[in-house]
Amino acid sequence: MKEVRIHARAGQGAITTAMLLASAAFEEGKEALAFPTFGAERMGAPMNAFVRLAREPIRDRSQVKEPDYVIVLDPTLIRGFDVFAGLKEGGVGVINSPVSLEELGVKTKARVITVPAGKIAEEVLGRADRANTALLGAFAAATGEVSLQALIRVVEARFPGAVGQKNARAMGLAYNFAKGKGK
Amino acid sequence: MKLTIGAVGLPGTSRQNKTGSWRINQRPNFLHIRCTACDLCALACPDGCIYGNGRNTYYSDYEYCKGCGNCAAVCPVDDIEMEPEKGGLPQGVFVFYDENEFRHMSTA
C-alpha cells in the first residue's frame, strides 16, 4: 500500500487532486481511497487530502501519518507545518514552487523536488492557483506510481472539452519538467 | 374495536363527537320575538353551532353547544336568554376507523 498526503489551502483543488490520483490508479487496476480533512470552512484555510493506493481493498480511513509521498500545493504552508513529518524512508516529496528547495529553506534528507506548477498553470490555464493538475503530472514522473496517460484520461473525463485538454497539457508539461529534473 | 396502524381514522369524526356533553348548567333559549337576523349570535358562537336564515329562525344545536353564553351576550335586541340546563345531555364519543364500519367508544 502507498500512502499520499497532500498539503494545500482550501480552494486550491486538493480534493480534486486526491480524487484524480485515486481515479487514475483505479483505472490502472488498483484499489484506491481518497479523502480530505478540513480545518475552518473558509477559502485559504490550511487543509489536507489523503490517498491510499493498494492491491487489496483499503480499510484504513484514518489520516495518513507516515506517507510514502507528500504533495505540497502551496509552499507558504511550509512555514507553519512540518509537511514532511512521517515521510517514510525513501519517500518522495513534490512541491509546487517556482524557487528551489534551498531558497524555500527546506532541509530534508528525503527526495524532494520543486516544480513551478503555478507558472505552468498560469501559462496554460491562465490561473496560477490552478496548479493542482500540473503538479499531479510532476508527481507521476517523480514517483511512477501512476501513468501520465491514466491521469490525462481522468482529468479529461472530469473536465470535458477545452478545459480538460488544457489541464492535460499542463500535466504533460509538468511531467516533462519533473522527468527532466532526474531521479 | 380496532386500533389502526398509525392511528388512522375517517374524517368528520368530530361530528360524532357530541361535545354538547361538556355543556355546563345552562343553555341558550332563542325567544324568536325581536330577532333582526343580524347574525351576530352565529358569528360569536365559538362552536359554530348556531344556525339561522331570516328573522326569528336562529337556534343552537344542543348536540355541540357548550352553554358559554356568548350568543346571549352579543344579541343586540336581547332575544336570547340563558336558561338552566333541562337535562338530557348528548353522549360524547370518540370514533376510529375500521375497515367496515365505525366502532364507538364512550367517554361519558
Binding site: 479523502f35 480533512t37 484504513d60 480511513r61 484514518s62 | 386500533l3 374524517p11
Partner: protein, 419 residues
C-alpha cells in the same frame, strides 16, 4: 455493473435516484449537502423525475416529507447533527404515523461546542424515535443500505421510517470504488410503494389521530412490535439483496473472525474497518481477536448480538457517542443483551472519535490494553491539555498542565494541517 470511483455522497444520491422517490425535500447542512445537491442536479437536468422542494429548515423538510409520504408516495430527505435534532419531533411523528420515509444521516457531532466533523452522537440521540437506524461501514454499504432501507421501511409488517447513517467526511467525502446497480436490478429488488393508508380527497382519512390514555399505550406497543418485525424483515430483505445483486449485505450485523475469538471488538460505521485491521494484526500474532459490526442499531437485534458474543470472554464496545450522565448508548444495549445469560462476557465501553478525532489502530489498541472493566472510557484524551476545574485525580491518570507553565512559542504542527 461496473465499479466506479465515486464520492460517498454521490453513491448515496445515485442509489436514492434508482429508488424512484417522488418527493425530495431537504435543508443543507455540512457534511450532508453533497447528497441533496447531487439529487437536485438530477431533478433539474431531468435525469430524475421527482419533485425537489426547498425548505427553510430541517424541521420543515421533515414535515414536508411527512406530508408527502402521507399521500402515498416515496420520499427522501437527508441531514446531519443539529439538523437531525431539529427534525426530532417530526421524526417521532413520522414513526408514530407509520410512514416509511427514508433519510440519510451523515453523522456529525452535535453542538456545543460547535463541531462539523464526524461522530455518531446525532443519530444515537434519536434511538428512541421509532426510526430504523442502519450504519454503513464503507461507501458501498452506504449506497446499498438505501435500497434495503426503502424495502424494509415499506414492508407492511414494518411501516416505519428508516435512516441510513454514514460517517461525515470519512465516508461522505471519501472517493472510493462503488458498484451502482442497473435500474433493472433495483426494480427487481424494490417494488413500487404500496401504502396501507394514504391521504386522498376521494377517500379522505386522518392520519395520526388523537389517542387518549385508553389508546396511546396500544399504539406505542404496535410500534415496538413493528420494530421487532423489522429484524425479520431486514434479514429476509438482506437475503433477497444478496441474491439479486450478488453482493454481501449484512443487514443486521457482520461477524469478522469471531469463531474462536476470546476478545471481540464491537462497533458501528467506519471505525469497524480499523477494528478489522487491528484484529488481523493481532491474529497474526496468535491472539484470538474478532470484530462484530453492528449494522442495524434500531431495531437492536438482541438475540443475534448475544449469539455473536457468547463465545467471548471480553467484549469491547467502541462508540462515537455517549449518553451523558450514563455510558455509551451502544454499550448499554450490548450489556443488556449479554445480561442474565450463562457465562456472560465482560463488556467494556469506550468512547472514541468524537468530533472528528481520528480513530486509529493505536486508539483501538489502547482500548485493548485497558485492564479494568469500564463503562465509558474516553480514549485518546489529551494529556497536555488543562481542563478547567478538573484536578489531576479526576483526569483519569493523565497529568494536567502545571499552573503557570507557558509554551514559549507555538510549535510547528506535525504533518497534518489543522485550523
Amino acid at each position: 455493473m461496473a465499479r466506479r470511483m465515486l464520492e460517498g455522497s454521490q453513491g448515496v444520491a445515485q442509489a436514492v435516484a434508482l429508488c424512484h422517490p417522488a418527493v425530495i425535500c431537504a435543508y443543507p447542512i455540512t457534511p450532508q449537502t453533497h447528497i441533496v445537491a447531487e439529487l437536485a442536479d438530477m431533478v433539474a437536468s431531468g435525469e430524475l423525475k421527482a419533485e425537489y422542494v426547498n425548505a427553510e429548515s430541517e424541521h420543515s423538510a421533515a414535515s414536508i416529507v411527512l406530508g408527502a409520504s402521507a399521500t402515498g408516495v416515496r420520499t427522501f430527505t437527508s441531514t446531519s447533527s443539529q439538523g437531525l435534532l431539529l427534525m426530532g419531533e417530526v421524526l417521532f411523528n413520522i414513526a408514530g404515523m407509520r410512514l416509511p420515509v427514508v433519510l440519510t444521516c451523515v453523522n456529525r457531532a452535535v453542538s456545543a461546542p460547535l463541531n462539523i466533523w464526524n461522530d455518531q452522537q446525532d443519530s444515537l440521540s434519536l434511538r428512541d424515535s421509532g426510526v430504523i437506524q442502519l450504519y454503513a461501514e464503507n461507501n458501498q454499504e452506504a449506497a446499498d443500505l438505501i435500497y434495503l432501507a426503502y424495502r424494509v421501511a415499506e414492508d407492511h409488517r414494518v411501516l416505519l421510517p428508516a435512516m441510513v447513517c454514514l460517517d461525515g467526511y470519512i465516508l461522505s467525502h471519501a472517493w472510493e470504488a462503488v458498484e451502482i446497480p442497473t435500474p433493472k436490478e433495483v426494480d427487481a429488488f424494490l417494488p413500487p410503494y404500496s401504502p396501507l393508508y394514504k391521504l386522498d380527497p376521494e377517500a379522505p382519512l386522518t392520519l395520526g389521530m388523537y389517542a387518549n390514555p385508553e389508546l396511546y399505550t396500544e399504539a406505542r406497543y404496535m410500534l415496538q412490535r413493528a420494530m421487532e418485525e423489522a429484524i425479520t424483515a431486514i434479514q429476509e430483505t438482506s437475503h433477497s439483496f444478496e441474491l439479486i445483486f450478488s453482493r454481501p449485505m449484512p443487514g443486521i450485523l457482520e461477524e469478522y473472525r469471531t469463531e474462536d475469538a476470546t476478545t471481540v471488538l464491537l462497533g458501528m460505521g467506519s471505525l469497524v474497518s480499523v477494528a478489522k485491521e487491528v484484529a488481523d494484526e493481532l491474529r497474526g500474532q496468535g491472539e484470538k481477536v474478532g470484530v462484530v459490526k453492528l449494522v442495524s442499531y434500531r431495531p437492536f437485534p438482541k438475540e443475534m448480538v448475544w449469539e455473536a458474543l457468547k463465545g467471548a470472554s471480553d467484549v469491547l464496545v467502541l462508540e462515537k457517542g455517549i449518553s451523558l450522565g450514563s455510558a455509551g448508548p451502544l454499550l448499554l444495549d450490548v450489556r443488556s443483551a449479554c445480561h442474565h445469560r450463562p457465562h456472560q462476557p465482560r463488556v467494556s465501553g469506550f468512547v472514541c472519535g468524537l468530533g472528528g478525532r481520528d480513530v486509529t489502530r493505536q486508539t483501538i489498541k489502547a482500548a485493548l490494553a485497558e485492564k479494568e472493566l469500564v463503562d465509558a472510557r474516553f480514549l485518546d484524551l489529551k494529556a497536555d491539555l488543562e481542563l478547567e476545574g478538573m484536578g489531576q485525580a479526576s483526569r483519569d491518570k493523565q497529568p494536567a498542565l502545571a499552573r503557570g507553565a507557558r509554551r514559549k512559542r507555538a510549535p510547528r504542527k506535525e504533518g497534518i494541517n489543522s485550523a
